[in-house]
Symmetry: C2
């Protein structure tokens, strides 16, 4: 016990909510804890903040160490400091939110994680600490974001179909959307560029491929809009 202070201090951690999308589901990245408390339980990747790193650096480091995932954009979600949220002592955690393309990120458990894996958002095992609450906050933030920001750039492949984009909105919002309405609205946002290509290797009729107009996408992300669907 080498580090002593005049007043007691809470421990400070970061936790990472990483959402990814595949053909089926919105998924979240979890690790299986290798140490007590909650040994063997699934949890969000995360850990203690070091004195010589910023909060963002700590979040990036912990994510890399525990899951092998690197180079993702992390946005601060919320800081949670309820009493008793950790059985050991007072711990305050700064939670971060990321969106990634599932296909780009092979996960590999490391350091104090026994295992790391993607779970469908509606099939998440019981989580350690108050991580279920943090995950719910993150999901709500994501659902809120799609109302006033374009979304998909971080989650979809570079070229995608309108069906894939609609699927993304459906899994985030957790409800089916009307196809005609969705297409009309998304095209009226003018963030999509129609490509001279169609899908390949599909059993059904090959659909038109699109990409995002990055400039317009970024402008709307900054400026905000209202996407009532």
């Amino acid at each position: 016990m080498k580090y002593c202070y005049e007043y007691p201090r809470p421990a400070l951690t970061v936790d990472c909510v990483v959402f990814g999308l595949d053909e089926e589901d919105l998924k979240v990245l979890l690790i299986q804890r290798n140490l007590p408390p909650f040994e063997g339980k699934w949890a969000l990747p995360g850990g203690f903040v070091r004195l010589d790193e910023t909060l963002e650096e700590a979040a990036r480091r912990e994510l890399q160490e525990e899951t092998g995932i690197e180079n993702v954009f992390q946005e601060q979600l919320y800081t949670v400091g309820e009493l008793g949220r950790d059985p050991r002592e007072r711990v305050v955690t700064v939670a971060y939110l990321s969106l990634v393309k599932l296909s780009d990120h092979q996960v590999t458990a490391a350091t104090d994680a026994r295992n790391a894996a993607w779970f469908a958002i509606d099939d998440v095992p019981p989580l350690a600490f108050d991580h279920a609450k943090i995950l719910r906050l993150a999901h709500e933030r994501l659902q809120g974001k799609v109302r006033y920001q374009p979304i998909g750039f971080e989650l979809l492949p570079a070229k995608f179909t309108l069906r894939q984009l609609q699927h993304l909105y459906e899994v985030i919002l957790d409800r089916p959307l009307d196809k005609r309405n969705f297409r009309k609205k998304i095209l009226s946002m003018e963030i999509l560029v129609e490509l001279d290509e169609v899908e390949t290797d599909v059993a059904h009729r090959a659909a038109q491929l699109y990409k995002f107009d990055r400039k317009k996408y970024d402008r709307l992300t900054k400026r905000g809009f209202n996407f009532e669907i």
Copy 2:
């Protein structure tokens, strides 16, 4: 130095950005520090988080202790943890944002504040620490909020004129708005109730008074909308 830990820990503080409105300006509540570092400098009210209180409780307590202000709604703004932001040691701070009616809150300096006062947002003195940056974050959040949430309930008197409401938007957005456009848009939101009353004690022609339809206001606050002005 009675509190010892195996690993070094950052200190954890809260800081409070409290915005208020008067006839002229958007104002922010500041305290003058009575202790080093930055003794004599103006700063956001705030202080260290105790082990037995939540972050929200700490923010409420510090605001009350340093400025006398109580019973305000505080929303978490952002957690700032850059290295070197405090000359003493590593300090991570959770910033909170409040909107209050200036007339309801008489400020009184107390504890480690030499002085507490309201400053017009565009006439703020040089601030201690990175508080100018936190204030800018808070102002940007407020400017972002008015784009997709109704605003004014916490800042205006119960009965107000459209001129007062427009003034509020103008000081938050820091630009003049077209009167006809503003009125058309704000009325189309259907969050205002026209009262059977006009202003009293005014030199100019007495204007119609309005109040917020709390139910619709709350619904829009939750649900979001797009208020392009």
